[in-house]
């Protein structure tokens, strides 16, 4: 194993910390939030740069429009809210006001996926990858851990154009050991482990769970290749085409419709690859309330459940 799981650290904390760092470097960086700055951690930037932080209140549609307007005047704009409201409530504003004119707005959302937990279905955003991925000009990124988030946010600030970044509410185990170790390469999947029995492609907070599953599979003598896919759009086609395994398992805290699994399926189909794809994620249902840990188990997305599902798949082959 090239990477060891470390202590749990919040990706959103990494976001807040990096915004503060970037704020010092980039005087034209501004940050917007819609009354969730304490949760999204943009509050850290607000404290350091009160003149460049704008809390627009509970009005996400206007936030995206204002973000577009600020970008027109030459600002690098970060706009944050929960994934549900950032992408769901304001989808058409993102499409028409930001992506169509290709403006320099970074939509960084926290509280993605089922692991939002107790707040339940109305707050568990499991369709955001799908609805952001289909917008022209939009790039979609789902960081692996705390360290990679830092590198990704820095990349976003220094590369012009719209981006959507999703991250979970909960703290997750670090996969990388430092920011340097986690240095983000846009559009590239990252092979964390080689293996000749199957390929697991996981994104975001599912990478640590995939690592747990992979270790359990190893005990059974099953060697899995593990790819951490932080960039979901554009998807790294080469890494999928070059994988020599017949079975690919995609893992995401997102509906299996339209997300990472779908993106991989498109690559397999378009390249005519002779591969089977097992999509693990939320199987086209709405979530329920519960703790993040209990919900991951309930939806079969914790390390143990992933391990058992893959074992079953391989045995039934």
């Amino acid at each position: 194993m090239r990477y060891k799981l470390g202590e749990k650290k919040g990706m959103r904390v990494a976001y807040g910390e990096t915004l503060v760092k970037l704020g010092k470097e980039l005087p034209n960086l501004v940050v917007l939030d819609a009354d969730l700055s304490g949760s999204t951690k943009t509050s850290m930037f607000a404290k350091a740069f009160p003149d460049r932080f704008f809390n627009v209140g509970i009005a996400e549609q206007n936030m995206m429009g204002m973000a577009a307007g600020l970008a027109i005047t030459g600002k690098i704009v970060f706009a944050s809210s929960f994934a549900m409201f950032a992408t769901g409530r304001a989808w058409e504003q993102i499409r028409n006001s930001i992506a169509y004119p290709n403006l320099d707005v970074k939509i960084v959302a926290t509280h993605s996926g089922i692991t939002v937990g107790e707040d339940g279905a109305t707050h568990q955003m499991t369709e955001d990858i799908a609805i952001m991925r289909c917008i022209p000009n939009m790039r979609v990124i789902s960081p692996t851990d705390y360290y990679e988030t830092k590198s990704i946010i820095e990349w976003c600030a220094k590369n012009e154009g719209p981006v959507y970044v999703r991250m979970p509410r909960r703290d997750t185990e670090t996969v990388f050991s430092s920011e340097e170790d986690a240095k983000f390469q846009f559009g590239k999947g990252r092979i964390l482990e080689d293996g000749s029995d199957l390929t697991i492609v996981a994104t975001g907070e599912m990478v640590p769970e995939a690592i747990k599953a992979l270790e359990l599979l190893k005990e059974e003598g099953i060697e899995a290749q593990l790819i951490a896919m932080a960039t979901i759009k554009p998807i790294d086609e080469d890494i999928i085409v070059n994988s020599t395994n017949d079975l690919i398992v995609s893992i995401e805290d997102h509906n299996i419709v339209g997300g990472l699994g779908s993106a991989i399926g498109e690559v397999i189909a378009e390249h005519g690859l002779n591969k089977r794809l097992l999509r693990m994620g939320i199987r086209d249902v709405f979530g329920i309330s519960g703790s993040a840990t209990d919900l991951l188990r309930y939806y079969g997305l914790d390390g143990e459940s992933i391990y058992r599902r893959i074992l079953e798949e391989i045995k039934n082959k």
Partner: protein, 278 residues
């Protein structure tokens, strides 16, 4: 092109002549495109002409100059009026007007920033207003002394986003922002008050913390004087000018006729309209 006042009668007459030519081109381009929105373009024409010919600081030869005044057409479907003005002023070749809405043409069905002189991509109603609020905020961060203008439709004010933006402009004390509502009282399905009543728009914007003026949106003197008054009030409040207008203004059979909201004139109608406007 900066404001000169008091405005002379000869200047008003000149603006009226320009507006007539712009209206001619609006009807012609929509007629040739066989598609577009003549009604709301014609009701907004005089406001846009006043802004670009008398009020705004802008330079067609240097469209990106930093301290320019910025205009956002939030009611994007009225873009034939904006396009005709921009072409007349030399932002792009006038021949482009006759290829409106055609595959591969410069002029899109709704405003796009890919078009020289167009500051924001708009047309999905409500969105241009928020963009203008963001621009006004950005200009203030840059310590510019310019003005940001935004033109909304009255039907557009049914969008919830308009009121989110109105709230924000007041909250951030954007007194560099001057809005217009093209109050032509018609929307695609009928009278605004029948479809979804807007009630007293003046009081609504006032309640949202704006300074509000009401004018005849076809009277150049009122348009220009009111903007000058709005500009003189550096009181921390955004300004909204409710401009009472006539949909289809300038073409007898289009005036007040909701059928010409989003429908191009046929050949016979085009001929008649152009005759009236020559």
């Amino acid at each position: 092109m900066s404001n000169t006042f008091p405005i002379k009668n000869t200047e008003i007459e000149e603006l009226e002549r320009i507006a007539k030519r712009i209206r001619y081109n609006i009807v012609k381009m929509i007629g040739l495109a066989k598609s577009g929105h003549p009604g709301g373009s014609l009701s907004a024409t005089d406001i846009i002409v006043a802004l670009y010919y008398k009020i705004m600081n802008h330079d067609p030869k240097n469209p990106n100059k930093k301290d320019r005044d910025i205009f956002v057409l939030s009611k994007g479907h009225a873009c034939p009026a904006l396009y005709a003005v921009l072409a007349e002023l030399g932002y792009f070749d006038k021949e482009e007007l006759w290829r409106l809405r055609k595959v591969g043409a410069l002029l899109q069905g709704h405003p796009s920033i890919s078009i020289p002189g167009v500051e924001a991509s708009t047309g999905s109603l409500g969105q241009g207003f928020s963009i203008a609020v963001g621009i006004a905020l950005g200009c203030r961060l840059d310590k510019l002394n310019n003005w940001v203008y935004v033109l909304l439709g009255d039907g557009e004010c049914q969008e919830g986003q308009v009121w989110e933006a109105a709230m924000a402009a007041h909250h951030y004390k954007l007194d560099n922002l001057i809005g217009f509502v093209d109050r032509n009282r018609l929307q695609i399905d009928g009278c605004t008050e029948d479809v979804m009543s807007l009630g007293d728009l003046k009081e609504k914007f006032r309640a949202f913390g704006w300074d509000v003026f009401e004018i005849d949106g076809h009277n150049f003197r009122e348009i220009i004087d009111t903007v000058n008054m709005a500009k003189s009030l550096k009181n921390g409040k955004p300004k909204m000018i409710i401009a009472n207008t006539v949909k289809g203004k300038g073409v007898s059979f289009m005036e007040g006729n909701v059928r010409f909201h989003g429908k191009a004139p046929n050949e016979e109608q085009l001929e008649r309209a152009l005759k009236e406007l020559s």
